[in-house]
Symmetry: C2
Subunit: 416 residues, 2 copies
């Protein structure tokens, strides 16, 4: 009956620290470039700088409702001793001025209108009075340049409108629209093939479970994390704990044009035997960069590169798998999509409600609830996904620390 | 020639503070409810709690590779004096156990397998040895409940899986998948009609501008902010500064089934005359809740309700319009979509590089660049959209403050 025994887990001979993995596992692959219209460009990553084809606003523009003047004509004006200027005409919004400002004269301009020739400033209407037909009383002097923006003050011709590698924010969409740029070359969303393994795992649509079966939770949650990192999840399906079957599915995901994976993510079976099958299948297809991370939860993580496509082997437990993917996978998805510095995540400062133990040289990721200023650690086996749904965020106990004391101030990375 | 003069802006008789507006302008409208599959449910807002149809994992489950035992049989076991248990069989992953654990016996179980009848704990393989065929040496005692999760330890039957009103995160998608919930009732994305006004404003696709024309930047940027707030932008187009034309377009946006607006946003013309036209048109169609906010930039903001549909009149300058929409509009979009507490935004603490002046009773929104620990205010006329694209985020000078001193610590809300 000795074939019934369970083998102890093999030591990970290529274990790494999390900081090693983040700094050292940097596949050079980048997605292809595609053009998208502005309306679909939010949060997309530009593949190249875009320069302004022309200056903006493109004409000297009034920023106030008032009167375009020669500034020198207003010097000395005051409430007690106003200056009188001849009203030479008015500028219409959106049209070229039909009048110029003569010495001693002024022209009415609404906010946003073109500054007429001859003028070098605009007096706000609040500092004027129209007491006599044909002339305007000015009660405050203005300096040259007051009340207007120069023709190239928003953007100079040839200036950088948007920077390659930085996801587009709403303001950038506005600036591109102002410059008449209707489409942007961006990196394609990285396609992330998600493969689940495990003899016990069945599709989430399974209505009734047989004894010992669990529905695939990890694939759905990973798809969400991939989307948040700017990627496109491709849920491949579930493979039994069998090296041949897994190798075939991996080869398919890596090679097939229909999947076209930029990254392959395998949530390994949870038993040690299943994990060994995954490592074996991956080793047959590429180079294992590390197997084993100094991370809790997440130790059995595998990082590899197979023919230029990075591959992440995640722990079998949903909670561990999601912790690892958020820490190691999401930055990789951003990078594959041409973004060097992922956008900031929401955080908050809080005080720990209790001590957190850790081991030096290992990163601990601790799920927490945040109540006011207090972060309350949530514990439980990493098999429990509900720990993650109850959490507001997580605290990192860094590699050098042997733990964190109760009441110490920590930064909580908040889920959103 | 007196018709050429510019009228001073009228005082806002219904001006409000920002905190009044956020607390008091709360239209009761909510979007309809629709069912979406799990794969499309990320960040959507559930319309009702979803309860677990069954317990999870649904069976007592081993969380380690090892041997299912009766805990009492292991009491007293040690390295020096191991306990010997008869190996009665093994449990296969994803299958019902075919053996039970008799007194003095054990059954091999991989991580994730069903705990067989008779057992109340699992000994990790690391604390066992298979020295003799048919029996297992146990070198550490276990307590009842060790090495396993109970059948309802992740989720009890009937427990709340997800909570109404809280946008779904990746972990919730996982938990729903685990529970076999394939679709969720969520609030429809609020449809936000975006109307631009201004005689000088032309479509962003306009290749060559005539003198005095500017392309519509605000609509594209607003569409981005609406999307970020979970809404669906409907860019209606540009209306000239004409009350009759604006009233017709507003009536259309409010009434037409094809637009079906849950919120109407008008970026008003920038001149005082154009702003008055907007207010006039809105007053004809509904009730103005406030006109004028104690906010810089953003003073000429208008908040109204027209037949149950909220309407925001934004300042004409793109930068001001976006500041106001982010502050007042985005929380409203979330609320219309059934979400009471918008997800957290990324922030960072930094020290101001210089003094910021403000007036008590007014909120100032100051764009900043963040370099390391220092927040450097970016100034410039609110007509300059480039101030916003150069900013990493903004600092709020709150209503009571008359300013903030250089070197004081501030919270920067980061754009992403």
């Amino acid at each position: 009956m000795s074939d019934l025994t369970i083998r102890p887990g093999r030591e990970f001979f290529t274990a790494r620290t999390v900081s090693d993995a983040l700094a050292g596992f940097r596949p050079t692959r980048r997605t292809t470039i595609e053009s998208v219209p502005l309306a679909a460009a939010l949060h997309r990553v530009p593949a190249a700088d875009v320069l302004a084809p022309e200056a903006l606003p493109g004409f000297p523009r009034s920023t106030v409702d008032g009167y375009a003047v020669r500034a020198a004509d207003t010097y000395g004006a005051s409430e007690g001793l106003p200056t009188y200027l001849d009203l030479a005409g008015a500028v219409r919004m959106g049209a070229a001025p039909t009048v110029t400002v003569p010495p001693g004269g002024c022209v009415a301009v609404p906010t946003g209108a073109v500054l007429p020739e001859g003028a070098d400033a605009v007096v706000m209407v609040e500092y004027t009075a129209a007491t006599m037909p044909g002339s305007i009383e000015v009660t405050r002097p203005v300096a040259p340049g007051a009340g207007l923006v120069r023709a190239d003050e928003d953007v100079a011709s040839g200036a950088t409108l948007i920077t390659a590698g930085r996801p587009l924010r709403s303001a950038e969409l506005g600036l591109l629209a102002a410059a008449g740029v209707g489409a942007v070359d961006v990196h394609a969303r990285p396609r992330v093939a998600i493969i689940s393994t495990g003899d016990e795992v069945v599709p989430s649509a399974t209505p009734v479970l047989a004894a010992g079966q669990v529905r695939d939770a990890t694939a759905s949650a990973l798809a969400g994390l991939v989307t948040e990192a700017g990627g496109e999840p491709v849920v491949v399906g579930i493979v039994p704990d069998d090296r041949v079957a897994l190798e075939r599915v991996l080869r398919d995901a890596l090679g097939s044009a229909s999947i076209g994976a930029d990254l392959v993510v395998v949530s390994a079976g949870s038993s040690v035997g299943a994990r060994d099958e995954t490592a074996g299948a991956v080793a047959a297809l590429g180079t294992i960069w590390c197997h084993g991370l100094a991370l809790k939860p997440g130790k059995p993580t595998l990082l590899a590169e197979c023919g230029g496509v990075p591959l992440i082997g995640l722990p079998g437990n949903p909670l561990s798998a999601l912790v690892v993917f958020r820490l190691v996978g999401a930055p990789l998805v951003w990078r594959l999509g041409g973004c060097a510095a992922p956008p900031p995540e929401p955080t908050t400062r809080a005080r720990l409600s209790r001590d957190l133990a850790s081991a030096a040289g290992r990163v601990d990721i601790v799920q927490v609830r945040v109540r006011g200023e207090v972060a309350e650690p949530l514990f439980g086996p990493s098999a429990l996904l509900s720990v993650l749904t109850r959490a507001d965020g997580y605290v990192v106990v860094p590699e050098p620390a042997t733990g964190l004391d109760a009441d110490s101030e920590v930064e909580v990375v908040l889920y959103r």
